[in-house]
């Protein structure tokens, strides 16, 4: 199919979604969106995107399913162990100085990153005074996150990552396995609130000491990245920390001057004290 026509159909679809469902994908990076929408057309058995748009507008069950193509639900516990190690070594000592802690995991997908942080904080004896807000726009992912249940065949990878993150305990201390699934300890979940929040359309909801937003900005264009980074800047307390994904940075954004790099390789930044 002609690629210019396809892009036009993508724009129309995204506009329709915005107007009907108020999900805003207008400033997402095009290349990977394109690829995922091609896959969606096959899955929904539509030969054009306009056909798919028709279904999105007229069949209520279609949009929630399409959301799984518009967003990318790929996650892991302790993904990039070096990041968690850097948090442990460079951020935790400062977080320890606060009497109570609030942490925002933005774009938490099915919960792996939030549970990883909860485990890390428990190892550091900080979880009891911590509230983690984990947000995403994919409601089905949030529902799965809420259960704290993962397939047992993913645990070997999670365990390796956890070990490489400089862990002080064994990952198996935090879950029980049954019927091909593992269930994470309910006492971790007590410190996490999962909720629906969009970096594209919603605003700041709390002051926090740490924002962890990994592999989300990569899907945004520069303008939307600036918006999201503006929210993080607004939510963080003075000298609060921001952790991003391995291929993300504040460096080229409008907010570059609001942050200093504390762990360059591991993409951890700190909000400046004052100017």
């Amino acid at each position: 199919m002609n690629s210019a026509d396809f892009e036009m159909e993508i724009e129309l679809l995204i506009d329709a979604i915005y107007r009907k469902y108020h999900y805003d994908f207008r400033e997402y990076a095009m290349a990977s969106l394109k690829r995922r929408l091609r896959t969606a057309m096959l899955r929904f058995d539509c030969s054009t995107l306009s056909q798919l748009q028709d279904r999105v507008l007229h069949e209520p069950a279609t949009f929630p399913m399409l959301l799984d193509f518009l967003t990318v639900q790929v996650s892991e516990m302790f993904r990039d162990p070096g990041y968690f190690r850097a948090l442990r070594e460079q951020v935790i000592p400062l977080l320890r100085t606060y009497p109570s802690l609030k942490i925002w995991v933005a774009g938490c997908s099915t919960g792996e990153e939030a549970f990883s942080l909860a485990i890390l904080l428990r190892e550091e004896n900080l979880l009891e005074r911590t509230q983690i807000y984990a947000t995403d726009i994919n409601v089905r992912a949030l529902e799965m996150a809420e259960t704290g249940i993962y397939d047992v065949d993913r645990i070997a990878g999670f365990t390796d990552n956890h070990r490489l993150s400089g862990s002080k305990t064994s990952l198996s201390d935090y879950y029980t396995a049954a019927y091909g699934k593992v269930v994470f300890d309910r006492t971790l979940k007590e410190h996490i609130v999962f909720s629906d929040h969009s970096l594209a359309t919603d605003s700041v909801f709390s002051e926090v000491q740490l924002v962890s937003c990994r592999n989300v900005l990569i899907y945004f264009n520069r303008e939307l990245q600036d918006r999201a980074l503006g929210l993080f800047e607004g939510a963080l307390c003075r000298k609060g920390f921001l952790g991003l994904g391995a291929k993300e940075s504040v460096r080229f954004s409008a907010h570059a001057d609001d942050f200093i790099e504390v762990a360059r390789e591991n993409k951890i930044f700190q909000k400046r004290g004052s100017i």
Binding site: A29, A31, S32, A246, K247
Partner: protein
């Protein structure tokens, strides 16, 4: 032999390989010359959990600058970009580089299909796609996309490749413009020089 196809100009080359690819690409890169204006994008399947060392290695083999692809970086002429481990490399309007952590394709991230399909969208018939040695079927769909968009396509002759699965899969999926042993792909590059 390349003369006809290359009377039209090529702005970009995409190269995909898996096992045996380090050697194959190391043989190709020395054929590039400083005067080339073309941008080159390479996906080579690498282990996900450590730096690949490819940038250093390939820089050593090549007079053009070789860099690891960065998300949203504008594409420069005369530069070789390598996909980083554990991310897909795509081309976006601009042209700009784009990385994504979407699901692996054919168990691979980076995947050749992602690069080739997105490059075909951006460069259309000004693209040259090359599939080299490898042990899985990634790249076959991508090469077909390059061909559909009117680009030039080359597949390494399977019985001359260290691993024949990848080039054979590409041949099954589409009929490329050229099926060549590595030495002739190197020659093709040398012939191209004038075309660029």
């Amino acid at each position: 032999m390349a003369a006809d196809l290359l009377r039209r100009s090529i702005d970009a080359i995409v190269i995909g390989a898996s096992s045996g690819g380090v050697e194959a690409i190391s043989a190709l890169l020395p054929a590039l010359t400083e005067t080339m204006r073309v941008s080159i994008f390479i996906v080579l399947h690498v282990p996900r959990d450590r730096p690949s060392g490819l940038v250093e290695l390939f820089n050593y083999k090549c007079v053009l600058p070789v860099r690891e692809a960065q998300d949203k970086e504008p594409v420069e002429n005369g530069t070789v970009y390598i996909a980083p481990p554990d991310y897909h490399l795509l081309l976006d309007k601009g042209p700009r580089l784009a990385l994504s952590c979407d699901e692996p394709v054919h168990y691979s991230r980076p995947a050749i299909d992602c690069l080739f399909e997105s490059a075909a969208d951006i460069y259309q018939n000004r693209l040259l796609g090359i599939i080299l040695t490898g042990g899985n079927e990634d790249g076959a769909a991508g090469l077909a996309a390059v061909k559909n968009a009117g680009g030039v396509t080359i597949v390494q002759q399977p019985d001359t490749a260290q691993m024949s699965v990848m080039p054979a899969a590409a041949l099954k999926r589409c009929t490329p413009d050229f099926v060549l042993p590595l030495v002739d792909i190197v020659k093709f590059f040398t012939d191209l020089k004038n075309g660029f």
